[in-house]
Amino acid sequence: MSDSGNQPTKDRGEYWQKNLKIIAGCLFVWAFVGLGLGIVFADFLNNFSIGGYPLGFWFAQQGSIYTFLVIIFYYAWRMNKLDQEYDVYEH
């Protein structure tokens, strides 16, 4: 929660650092699922299946897209929370 006694610049610096951490986490999942599971590990994952889909194929043509969608909505939700914590939420 923001403290009116804090220097706004310090708050802003902290807000940005936290934002960068959230972005890094999201991009890790983005790269791991899309480029990792969908491409690099796809051959191995094709030994398993989800329904009638070989798993690597599913990640390359379906699963990665669903994951990207979840990442963006998570980021939007998480940043709204962060904006409120640091009192920079727009009204």
């Binding site: 934002n19 972005i23 969908g38 491409i39 009638g52 889909y53 194929f57 963006i72």
Partner: protein, 593 residues
């Protein structure tokens, strides 16, 4: 084509055109803010829908499913590349550029790097990217009119251009946004309805995304298993296997290049300038991807199921491939095969003169030799299969009513026009706002700028129409260039402008130019200088590519060159002035006190 079908086709397309014109009359604009960014008053969900239409081009609608069907597993590069870019856009660009709060992408680059030169370099990148892209859209309008509606290309293109003229010149971004929403509805309906019916027919499951992973009606075999097996029996590689298609390195690089290229396309970025608040920009990117994903997760099902349909039509008994009775007789071709044969997009030749169609992988020497020896086959008899057929012929293959065939035509046209309009706005605002107001005539009145914006829009439409009627031979090659350039020039520079406060004018300009030159040089080495093939320095195949990298996948290497050069130059030149560092601070925070 039957007369009644022709009338229904023209009626459905005519109704959609009337709708777009109605929106044009309703959404006229009076200020530059309305013209460039729709007055920043678009609801984030509505903007997501408009972004989806803006983004999904004629290529996404007409060609992508066929491309995936052709590539199999590695077609995932296009699916992931063209959707994963939205994650980068939502996390790294959209909220900050919206906070900056002006009208165009080059304007941000010019202000952030306190340099008119940087702004002009950005305008050049934008124009090359957008104009090459527009050519592809005009081709899409042509395909829809000429192949489905059987209307002469000239008539189709001119009527399409006329409608865009009405809503883009008078309505600007506001008119374009509301028409894009209508166009999204037309295209998603046109895409999913045939897909649902085909999925129902093949698997009994109405949701294509689930149908693709299901068993076939009246059988215990999974669709993908049967598809894999049948392709192997015909000498091809498995549909779902990672071998075949492109190499893993190229798939990886192509995916990354398309992702950062997508995030760097100015006509898409500018859509996030139209929402009221920074948090709307983040959410709107999610909605955009949601509306895009509906089509993009359906496309793999359409591609695989249409391929299956084609094989299933040509092979009567897939347990006994090679026996004469197992293959379709030419005399028994279904009506849709004959009709598409007439368009030339599908062609057969009875090479061994046995009156039956044999389709197999003649390029697989071992298999071809065996087939000749054992089956008496003398070459694959499916001599032409245009990839666009996969989507265009879908409703007929599924035996759907005639009005749905008309809807596919209207959907293809909607996809092409909505993307064209977004590109035309990016082109015209970079001319009237960045070049005219920003560089040549800073004291121009708002009224004068509005007139200039409308005139440059009209000019851009005429240029696009001309290029659509007289497409340069290299049109298809150039679309790959557009993504490579966006990836190598605009995306890294925008990102460094936000995330690296010390990035300065010299670094940004040098970086953009380095990214551009490296990418162009690599593409021209294999495709020929300015795409004249006789000027190519090396043959365009894997043996000659640097580390086996396809020129189409090279954008990411150009982006790395941009970043490296920017950092090195920024280290040895003066840091940006204090007020610029304050500007960067301010775009990082949603609410300025």
């Amino acid at each position: 084509m039957e007369g009644s079908q022709q009338i229904i086709n023209l009626l459905v397309v005519g109704v959609t055109f009337a709708l777009y014109i109605g929106i044009a009359i309703w959404a006229r604009t009076s200020s530059t803010s309305e013209f460039y960014v729709a007055g920043k008053g678009i609801n984030p969900v509505a903007n997501g829908m408009a972004t989806a239409a803006d983004w999904m081009s004629a290529a996404s609608f007409i060609s992508m499913a066929g491309l995936i069907a052709f590539l199999g597993f590695t077609g995932g590069a296009y699916l992931m590349g063209w959707t994963g870019g939205y994650v980068l856009m939502a996390l790294l660009l959209a909220p900050y550029l919206r906070k900056f709060g002006k009208f165009t992408v080059p304007e941000f680059i010019g202000d952030r790097f306190y340099s008119t030169t940087a702004r002009v370099v950005a305008v050049i990148c934008l124009l090359v990217i957008s104009i090459t892209y527009v050519i592809g859209q005009m081709r899409g309008v042509g395909i829809a009119f000429a192949n489905i509606l059987e209307v002469p290309l000239t008539v189709g293109l001119i009527s399409g251009m006329f409608v865009v003229f009405l809503y883009a010149v008078f309505g600007g971004m506001k008119g374009i946004t509301y028409t894009q929403i209508a166009q999204y509805c037309v295209m998603i309906f046109a895409y999913t309805v045939p897909a649902v019916f085909i999925s129902l027919i093949i698997t009994g499951v109405p949701i294509p995304q689930i149908g693709l992973g299901s068993t076939m009606t009246g059988s215990e075999t999974h669709l993908l298993t049967a598809l894999d097996q049948t392709l192997v029996d015909l000498g091809f590689t498995q549909y779902t296997a990672t071998e075949g298609g492109m190499s893993m390195l190229n798939m990886f690089l192509l995916t990354v290049s398309l992702m950062i290229g997508t995030a760097g396309l100015p006509h898409v970025i500018v859509r996030f300038f139209t929402v009221p608040r920074i948090r709307d920009a983040r959410k709107s990117a999610g909605w955009a991807l949601f509306f895009i994903a509906i089509l993009y997760t359906t496309a793999p099902a359409v591609g695989a199921m249409a391929t299956w349909n084609l094989l299933d039509t040509m092979i009567l008994d897939r347990q006994a491939i090679g026996e004469e009775e197992s293959h379709l007789r030419y005399a028994d071709q279904p009506a849709w095969m004959e009709r598409w044969g007439e368009t030339g997009l599908l062609a057969f030749e009875d090479k061994n003169e046995d009156g039956r169609i044999q389709y197999y992988n003649a390029a697989n020497e071992e298999f071809a030799a065996m087939a000749e020896e054992e089956y008496g086959w003398e070459g694959s008899e499916l001599t032409r299969l245009d990839r666009d057929i996969i989507v265009l012929a879908n409703p007929e293959i599924a035996g759907l009513p005639t009005w749905i065939i008309a809807l596919v035509a209207a959907g293809g046209i909607a996809a092409a026009l909505s993307t064209a309009a977004g590109l035309l706005l990016a082109i015209s605002s970079s001319i009237s706002h960045d070049l005219l107001k920003g560089v040549f005539k800073p004291d121009i009145t708002e009224k004068g700028e509005m007139l200039a914006a409308r005139l440059s829009m009209a000019g851009a439409i005429l240029l696009a129409g001309y290029l659509g009627l007289n497409p340069p031979g290299f049109a298809a090659e150039v679309v790959a260039l557009a993504f490579g350039l966006a990836a190598a020039s605009l995306f890294p520079t925008l990102m460094m402008g936000i995330f690296y406060k010390k990035m300065n004018r010299e670094g940004a300009i040098a970086g953009m130019l380095a990214g551009l030159v490296v990418t162009l040089a690599y593409i021209f080495t294999y495709k020929g200088f300015l795409f004249f093939p006789q000027l190519a320095l090396l043959p365009d195949n894997a043996d000659y590519w640097l580390f086996g990298i396809n020129p189409g996948s090279f954008g990411v290497i150009g982006a790395i060159a941009n970043v490296v050069v920017s950092f090195v130059v920024a280290k040895v030149t003066a840091p940006p002035p204090a007020h610029i560092q304050a500007l960067v601070e301010s775009v990082r925070v949603p609410r300025a006190d």
